[in-house]
């Protein structure tokens, strides 16, 4: 793999990570207004911004660094408590979040340089932030921040600022070997301005006998008087930037700048002393002295390590560094630790690898049950115990492996907090979003593809569904509209509901419109369901006016198409005047459902548990009837044996599994009840798509495939059959 390829790969990771971080950031920002303890959330927002800035810096994406830096500064103030959370602040930060997202996406599209138009918007956003930054300009801490910011803005915006710069150059040891003569850089520097002071740093120089004449040991501290902008000076060192440490500071940098330096250090070291040395606030000699001192103190305390004086304190005592710098370094140290902890929280894995793992574990289960069988045949107790324990573990492993592919739909739902917030502002309506069922798990691929149609439904509900505050009051509802997102599992499906408490669909109006468009004949008798289904026709809209959100009649048909592409369906339930509910049914390709196993002949069948009401023994006196008496109720019976073409000896006693779908009860006659289990749905191939009554298949612990019954279609099928017979 060439270096370019590696960089490209790294860049992809950067964009994915950044977008994820931005999502977190947005979530935290939105929750900031809740008013509870916000410290942790502010910290994580800050960390997100900081990480993006740091990574962008690694790739030389200066425009992202410049923009994010200002946002970070503001967040820093927030973190330090110099600013308090206000709706205005959140409102100003949210677009910044979006803007960073835009920049990152641009990078993902291959635009590594700043786009002037995008830059302009960025500038405007930063001006808005300035409102929050400037009132604090007189405060000590803020000065440095504001200072930094104006300079960075200069570098980002491209304007040139006249000033003096302090350059701290540490050339990489291979610089000379790479043909980068430090002197030539310094000479080139003079074309930008005048070098007023130059100090050679040669502390890294080893004793003469160990010195390699081809290695560069020296660094330089240079004061440069120049009209050039920071980016230009930085450009001088472009070729050595990777291997060397180049820091450019305004000359009058004081403590604030050191703090800044510490914050920008790469996060590979967590020793306080190292951090300080790297920032230039401390020399190695000073650190070694301090470390010696620490050792001496500890020895004096009879080896009690816990009582060791922190190195920071010693350094301050020795007046090697100032307290604020040590504090900054301590912060940095904590942050490095935090980031490390964060990294270990989640790992990105290819979906293919997961699938492979799951398949392998499935194989392991089967192999394990083979071993178990042999163990049972051998009747060796110790062996049986050992295999039993192994099987238990293997099944546990399988369960957790299966969980890996499933993600809760809550993350998708939470994204709508923002949509609802923005859209309700735009529409001038007050709308609350209530999310429930967020931990309902769906296969990741479905989660990814459902968010577009959902966005559409949510926007629609807000624009057309929920009325204006005045109208709501007239109708005797509370002025605040309520939008609900709900998800639950039902019969091997995931159901996602988008409901509003708005005006509901106007049946007559839809009928009229459908008539007008020639979709139905004037004397057609249609059920509510059929009429409501009209809204999914392409170009169908009853909206009087077209807004920029919706009303053009494109959309619902797209939603329907998207849902259909996921092999799902969508239904509308609406009550005029009190709101409507859009219900999306989606299959869970790989979802786990609770199910009930039954046995018919030699076949094992699986029935989704949530459809089952009860299990009873089949009364012997039903004779040839296709119904039985269930506590005074007539229960139609379904004989699974002939329906599924199962042969084999019929047992003396049979059982009935009572199921219910859409208010209709039915009893499935089965031979034996095997009990509850968790079932992983495996779709049957294309060959079997037309089979009625089978929703999919699952693999049992013994390696056999069992069919999952599709209760709704079976009940329908039986109803249909009896309707045609009589």
């Amino acid at each position: 793999m060439s270096f370019d390829d590696q960089m490209r790969d790294a860049l992809v990771t950067f964009t994915i990570e950044s977008l994820e971080l931005l999502e977190d950031m947005e979530m935290c920002l939105l929750s900031l207004e809740d008013g509870e303890d916000t410290t942790e959330r502010i910290n994580s927002i800050f960390r997100a911004a900081h990480t993006i800035k740091g990574s962008a810096g690694l790739f030389g994406l200066d425009h992202i660094v410049a923009f994010t830096h200002v946002v970070e500064s503001l967040l820093d103030l927030l973190r330090a408590g110099n600013l308090s959370v206000s709706p205005e602040l959140v409102a100003a930060l949210l677009p910044c979040c979006d803007h960073i997202g835009l920049l990152v996406r641009d990078v993902a599209d291959g635009k590594l340089e700043a786009d002037p138009a995008v830059d302009l918007t960025g500038g405007q956003l930063l001006e808005q932030l300035q409102v929050f930054l400037s009132p604090l300009a007189d405060k000590n801490v803020a000065t440095a921040v504001a200072d930094r910011q104006s300079k960075l803005e200069a570098s980002g915006g491209g304007s040139i600022e006249s000033g003096k710069w302090h350059l701290s150059l540490r050339f990489g040891p291979d610089s000379l070997r790479d043909g980068m003569d430090p002197l030539s850089f310094i000479r080139y520097l003079t074309t930008f301005g005048q070098i007023t002071q130059l100090t050679t740093i040669s502390e890294a120089m080893p004793p003469a006998e160990q010195m390699d004449p081809e290695t560069c040991y020296v660094g330089f501290e240079i004061n440069l008087k120049s009209d050039a902008g920071k980016d230009e000076i930085e450009g001088v060192f472009e070729f050595v930037q990777d291997s060397s440490s180049i820091r450019i500071l305004p000359l009058d940098s004081e403590i604030g700048e050191f703090i800044d330096l510490i914050k920008q250090l790469p996060e590979d070291d967590s020793y306080l002393g190292e951090l300080l040395i790297k920032s230039g606030a401390l020399t190695r000699r000073e650190l070694e002295d301090a470390l010696n001192q620490q050792g001496v103190n500890a020895a004096g305390d009879a080896g009690d390590t816990a009582a060791k004086q922190p190195i920071g304190e010693i350094l301050v005592e020795h007046q090697a560094v100032q307290q604020p710098i040590v504090n900054a370094a301590l912060d940095k140290q904590k942050q490095i630790k935090d980031n490390k902890a964060r990294e270990s929280q989640s790992i990105r894995v290819d979906a293919d690898r997961l699938d492979k793992l799951i398949d392998l574990i499935g194989e392991l289960v089967i192999a394990g049950s083979g071993v178990n069988l042999r163990a049972q045949e051998s009747k060796a107790m110790a062996l049986l115990e050992a295999t039993g324990e192994m099987m238990r573990l293997v099944e546990e492993v399988r369960d957790s492996a299966l969980q890996l592919r499933m993600v809760p739909i809550g993350t998708t739902f939470n994204r709508f907090q923002r949509v609802v917030r923005d859209v309700s502002k735009e529409l001038g309506k007050e709308i609350d979003l209530i999310i429930s069922g967020g931990d309902t798990e769906v296969d990741k691929s479905i989660v990814e593809q459902i968010s577009d149609p959902l966005t559409h439904l949510v926007r629609n509900a807000m624009d057309h569904g929920i009325e204006t505050a005045e109208l709501r009051r007239e109708r005797g509802k509370s002025a605040r509209g309520v939008l609900r997102l709900n998800a639950y599992h039902a019969a091997g499906n995931i159901v996602i509901e988008v409901s509003d408490d708005g005006g509901g669909l106007n049946r007559d109006k839809i009928f009229e419109k459908a008539l007008e468009r020639g979709l139905i004949s004037p004397n057609a008798v249609l059920s509510d369901q059929e009429i409501f289904a009209m809204i999914f026709e392409p170009g169908f809209s009853t909206a009087q006016k077209v807004s920029n959100l919706s009303g053009r009649g494109v959309g619902m048909d797209v939603v329907k198409r998207n849902v259909a592409a996921l092999r799902g369906s969508i239904a509308v339930e609406s009550h005029y005047g009190s709101g409507s509910t859009m219900r999306i049914h989606l299959p869970l390709t790989l979802a786990i459902i609770d199910s009930f196993m039954v046995c018919v002949g030699h076949s094992t069948l699986v029935i989704p548990l949530d459809k089952i009401l009860e299990c009873i023994a089949l009364p012997t006196d039903t004779g040839e009837h296709d119904y039985m008496d269930l506590r005074g109720e007539v229960l139609p019976l379904v004989h699974l044996r002939p329906l599924f073409n199962i042969h084999g000896k019929e047992p003396q006693r049979k059982n009935v599994v009572v199921v219910e779908h859409a208010g209709i009860k039915a009893g499935f006659i089965v031979d034996r009840l095997l009990g509850e289990c968790q079932t992983v749905i495996k779709p049957l191939g294309k060959l079997f798509t037309h089979i009625k009554g089978v929703a999919g298949s699952t693999i049992l612990g013994n390696g056999k495939v069992a069919l999952i019954l599709d209760v709704p279609t079976l009940v329908d099928y039986v109803q249909h059959k009896s309707a045609t017979v009589y």
Binding site: I646, V694, I699, V705
Partner: protein, 179 residues
């Protein structure tokens, strides 16, 4: 001879697939006393017959499904597919797992198992030994055959697996069976 083969290969009236079977390695197997062969490039593995789950409402040629290391694979009874009645399951009965293209533009390939009476061996078949399929007389549909290979003085039928295991066609069949 190769000229002859090329000619008949170009004539769609004889074979549905545009080309005749190429030389290469083939797996031979026995089915109903007849020896057939499949190009080994399509074959994923050979397993013992067992643990088959029957699926209702399917035509006779689709025997059921098996669990192949966590994925559910349909099993086709080749004998029934040739219209000769269902295979008898015996000691040497095996399932050859074959990868087929799923047909209508689906990018994913579908694995299908086929039931055979016994698996013989992998043989090298030379281009010279491959004859174009006869238009009748083999007892199975001509478009299922991509060639006849001469081997030890008898003919081995080279199967055109994409036609034999055409998912589209079998789906249509089973839809018809279900109605």
């Amino acid at each position: 001879m190769s000229e002859l083969a090329a000619n008949s290969g170009n004539s769609p009236a004889v074979v549905a697939s545009p080309e005749i079977a190429a030389a290469g390695q083939y797996l031979t197997f026995v089915l109903g006393g007849e020896v057939y062969a499949l190009g080994i490039l399509n074959i994923k593995e050979i397993i013992d017959y067992g643990d088959l789950t029957e699926v209702p409402m399917m035509p006779a040629c689709v025997r059921g499904v098996i669990n192949l290391r966590g994925s559910v694979v349909p099993v086709v009874d080749l004998f029934a597919r040739f219209g000769k009645g269902s295979s008898k399951i015996a000691k040497r009965t095996g399932i050859i797992i074959v990868e087929t293209s799923a047909g209508d533009g689906d990018s994913a390939n579908q694995d299908i198992g086929i039931i055979v009476d016994a698996v013989n061996e992998v043989v090298d078949i030379d281009r010279r030994d491959i004859e174009p399929p006869p238009s009748f007389g083999t007892g199975i549909r001509p478009d299922f055959i991509s060639g006849m290979a001469k081997r030890n003085g008898r003919f081995v039928i080279l199967l055109n697996i994409d036609r034999v295991l055409s998912v589209d066609e079998m789906t249509r069949l089973s839809q018809a069976a279900a109605v």
